[in-house]
Each structure stands twice: as C-alpha cells, then as structure tokens.
Amino acid sequence: MKIQSIVIRAGRSLKQAKSRTVLTSLAIAVGAFTITLSLAAGTGGRDYTDKIVKSNTDAQELVVSVQPPKSQQGPQKYSSSTGGAVISTALGSTEVLTQNDINRIQKVADVVSVTPNYNPQIQYITRPGQDKYVASIGTFSPSVTLTYAAGSANGGLADNEIILTEDYVKALGFSSDQAAIGGTVSIVAEKLSAPISAPESQTFSYKVKAVSSTSGLAFRSQSSLLISDNSAKTLYDYINTGTRNFNHFEVVSVEVNNANNAQTVKNTLTSMGYQAQTAADILGAVNTFINVLQGILLGFGALAILTSIFGIINTQYISVLERTQQIGLMKALGMRRRDVGRLFKLEAAWIGFLGGAIGSGLAYLVGTLSNPLISKALNLGDVRLLIFRPVSIAVVVVGLVLVSVASGILPARKAAKLNPIDALRTE
C-alpha cells in the first residue's frame, strides 16, 4: 500500500474521531506551548543581555578587583599585606585596591590605562529655584553606547559638563529635554573628614551637555548622571580626602589596547592576585542565569510531553480496540502487517503534528501579543523579550511528530499482530 494512501486514510479516521483527536493533541499542545515559549524567551533573553553588555561595557575594558581569599570561612585573618586596605560593608569586608595596585596593573603589557571607579557620593543636585534631589554619579565612557533624547556626547564630555537623564530634566524644572541643553546644574558635596561640629560642603557647577533617554538596554542611563573621569576624581577627592578609605578602590577599570588582548591581560592579572572580568565574562555569567531559567521551563515542557505520550498510547490502544473489525477486514483484503502498523503510527504522527502546530501557534500568538506588554511592564523600551525563530518552531513540531510516532509504536504493533479471523469474529 502506498504511503500516501495510508497518510490520507489515517487523517480521515482521525477526523472521524474529532473530539478524541483534539483532546489528545491538546495534551501535546500544552507541552509544545511551554517549549516554544521557553525557547523564545531564551533566544530573546540572550539577545537582550548581549545588547545590554554591548551597550554598557567595552570589549577593551576589564573590571578588576582583588581576588577574594579561597575558601574563606568566618572572619578574615589580618595580614600585613592587607595593610588596613579593607573596606567593611554590611556584607563583610572586602580587600581593596590602592595606588600601589594601580601602578602595578599599569605596568602590565597591553594595558593602556587604569581608572579607579570613583563613584563619588554627593549630597544632592539642584538648580536655582528648584528642589534638591539625591543622585548617583557615574563616569562617562566614550566606548559605551548611549541613546540621547537631546544633545549628544559622542564628541566627548568636557570636565565641566554633565549628562542628565530624562527624569532629572523634569525634576529640575526644565521645560523640555531640548531646553535643558546648555543649562547649568549644581552638585553639592560634603567633605567627610570635616568635624561634625563644623561641616564643610562645596558646590560644583556643570553645564548640561546631553540628555540620555530611558532605554531598555542601558543600566547607567536610567539612574546615573554622567560626568567625566576628571570631574569624578575632583568630586571624589573633595569628599574623601582625609578619610581612612581615601584612594582605596573596590574596583578599577583597565583599558587594554586591543579587545583580543583582554583575555591575556586577564590571565596575567589573575596570576598577580587580582580578579578580572572581561565583557565576555559578564555576558557569560548573565547568560548562564538565562540558560538555567530556560532549562527549568524546558523541563516543565518535557514533563507535559511525557504525560501526553501516555495519552497518545492510551488513545491509540482504544482506537485499535474499537477498530478491531476494520483491521481484520483490511488484513483479509490483503493489507500487509507493516502497512497496518504504519496506519496507526501515522495517526499518532497526525496527533503529534496537530498538537505541535496548535501549541507552538498559540505560543507564537500569545508571545507576539504580550511582547509589548512585557516590555512596558519591565520598562524595557523597544526591546522584545520573546523572539520566535521559525527554525525552533519547526524543530518543536517535527520533534513532537517523532515523539508521537514513537509512542504510537506499541498500539501499532498490537494492530499489526491482530489475527484477522479473531478480528472479524468481533461483532
């Protein structure tokens, strides 16, 4: 019997048992739905982190800190090398980098510059006649992609210039993003070493160079106001001079001359006792997290499929029982065992195809519809978190057809083995 005839007959007998077919394939559809969505979320998530890392980090940049002592349990022992260069935080104490370390790192081959992460803790930012607002200050890096709502710092940022975010433009009473450009804002910083009885503070003024727009891709633009490295150092120096932690840094950024050398420099720094992370490391770490999440989702999908396998086996066994007579007749008419088996396997294949198509189709529909909602809820701007690739949908559907055929094997074998005489005796 020709395979085409069998496929058509299989399809027809499923059509005659519509509700049963649909119900069985719905079980598979649940699995297909989950798997398709988790694949889309994985693709979208990796794409998203890839963009984030690309727009926030620089392939030529390494983030360097002191290597934490291995297998540290309990409080850390004091040693002369630590030399008091420890910052204690609520999370524990961290060894920090001093000017000595910076000088050592500077000497490593291929290193262009070493910039401490100043992160100056200012009191507030304001403008004449406006309220005072707290703000976090970051340093501007020309290699990190920013999106601008107004103005641009692509030509560099001078030491008396600042990049505001849209939120601060509004808060500081500018009429529009465009109107803020060229305006002046004041940052007030407090000298930490000044005695409590005689607090000392100073006002620093900056001209607004650009306004960064809220983008789903950037970490910094959302919260930090950006100034140049030199300005940050000036602020830092004013605030911290005279304190214990002055010129002790948790993290420094190391710029290498070529992105390809980042790994070699990392290895050298590691052997020197520092912990260095390249852009690729950061991407890898975030992606590991996404992969684990995706794995969990896929696991649920697989579980649903496993359940539906028993559904198919059960349905097909019942179908064989119901159609004993038909099987007997077909065999009496000379239909070969192999073809009888194929008929039932192909019916299972149809069920799998239907389930896969329904499930992944629904997932595509739901995903496409909810993409804008998710982006809105998570404040991601124009980023789509669910990306459906036709290849992965095709793989899901084909995979489910194969799984269904495999689960149809046992019932198909039962059908093929039926003795035609016994089958025809069944009334």
Binding site: Q16, Q326, A332, L333, G334, M335, R336, I421, E427
Partner: protein, 227 residues
C-alpha cells in the same frame, strides 16, 4: 483450480484441543460455484479461512493455480489475497464512517492501483451494484441491503479470481437477500469467477455447481451438479 488436500485444523492445546477440520480433501475446478454447507460449529467457516490463507492449518495443502498457499510467507499470502481473492461477510463489515467511494476504493489502495485507475474501477463497481448515486454518502446512512451491495462492490472491484462469501444473505430479508444472490451469481457467470459460498440456506446452495456438506469437521458428502 483449488485443491484442498488432507487439511487438519486444531484449535486450542492439549486437553482443550478441538479438531475444527479433520483430514478434509476436495477439488474445485476454475469458475465453479461451490456451497459449503453445515450447521454452526461444523467447521465450514474455518474451511473458508484455510482456503483463503487467512488461517493456517496444522497439516495439509491448499493448492491454488499450482501453488501451495500454506507454504508461502505471510507477506506473499497477503499479496495473493489482495490480487486474486475477495470476501463478503454476513455482517457486511463496511466502514460506517467512510464514504461508499472510499469503502470500495480500499482493496485497490491495498493492491497499489494508481489513483486514476482506482477512480474508473470504483465507479464501474458502484454502478454494477446500483449504488453510484450514493457514491459520496457515508456507509452508515445505507440500509442493510445497500450495505451488502456495497460489500459486493468492494469484493468485485479488484476483479478477483475467487470470491468467498460467508453467509452473504444471513442478515437480510428474503427480498434483499435475493438481490444479493442474483448479483453474486450473475457476476460469477459473467466473469467465470470461482464462487465459494458458506451457507446453511438450502435454496442458495441449490444454485451451486458443487455442494460440500461438513459435519463435525469432516466431509459428510460432496454433490456435483450434472452439467
């Protein structure tokens, strides 16, 4: 020619063994009509199954056109059946959910006949049993007599050499039964097809060239009509 030689068929094993056929032998010439008669449980259905290769006896030979079909592999017997034999059953065994067309088309699909040839042959077959106007109707919508006519159409569509009919009129009233009877005998005469009828209807059996009476698995008598 069909030669049945020393066929013995035993069902069950050891203590439960039941001899359905015991050393049965006879010969049927090509194009003859044969009635196999006997009470229920006499072994007449088993004999039909053995002759068509559906059932395998413990010993004996069934030689059709010089070939012992009991020595063939299952695959080859299936092929043999699909090319040369056809069946009509007491309870029709038409596929209720399928259209009349697809019911009749099944044997041709099994025999790998091309779609275009299937179409002409199915149409011709449905016309022969006067069911052409029901071509697209589902078999379940047919009456009992129409269902059996559909079964006849299915049986003749592949132009068989041998037509087996197991109590073909058993489930029908006398009028519709007579229609089926005439269809079968007309086809048998017109195309010189060997017709093997299993029945306990004496009227039906009297129209046959040969009457084989079976009793408790052995041949009671064989009557051949003088031509």
């Amino acid at each position: 020619m069909i030669e049945v030689k020393g066929v013995t068929k035993i069902y069950g094993k050891k203590d439960n063994a039941f001899k359905a056929l015991s050393d049965v032998s006879f010969t049927i010439p090509d194009g003859a009509s044969v009635a196999i008669l006997g009470k229920s449980g006499s072994g007449k259905s088993t004999l039909m199954h053995v002759m068509s290769g559906l059932d395998r006896p413990q010993s004996g030979q069934v030689i059709i056109d010089g070939k012992d079909i009991l020595k063939l592999k299952t695959k080859e017997v299936d092929k043999f059946r699909s090319r040369k034999m056809s069946f009509i059953f007491q309870s029709f065994f038409v596929q209720a959910n399928e259209s009349c067309y697809n019911n009749v088309s099944l044997p041709l699909e099994i025999a790998d006949v091309s779609a275009s040839r299937r179409r002409t042959r199915v149409d011709a077959s449905l016309k022969a049993v006067e069911l052409f106007d029901k071509k697209k109707a589902k078999a379940r919508e047919l009456s009992g007599g129409q269902k059996q006519r559909l079964a006849v159409a299915r049986a003749i569509v592949n132009s068989p050499k041998i037509l087996f009919a197991d109590e073909p009129t058993g489930n029908l009233d006398s009028v519709t039964g007579a229609v089926i009877e005439n269809l079968l005998f007309n086809y048998h005469k017109r195309f010189n097809v060997t017709l093997v009828l299993v029945t306990h209807d004496s009227d039906l059996s009297e129209r046959c060239d040969i009457q084989i009476h079976i009793k408790d698995g052995v041949i009671d008598s064989i009557k051949r009509k003088k031509l």
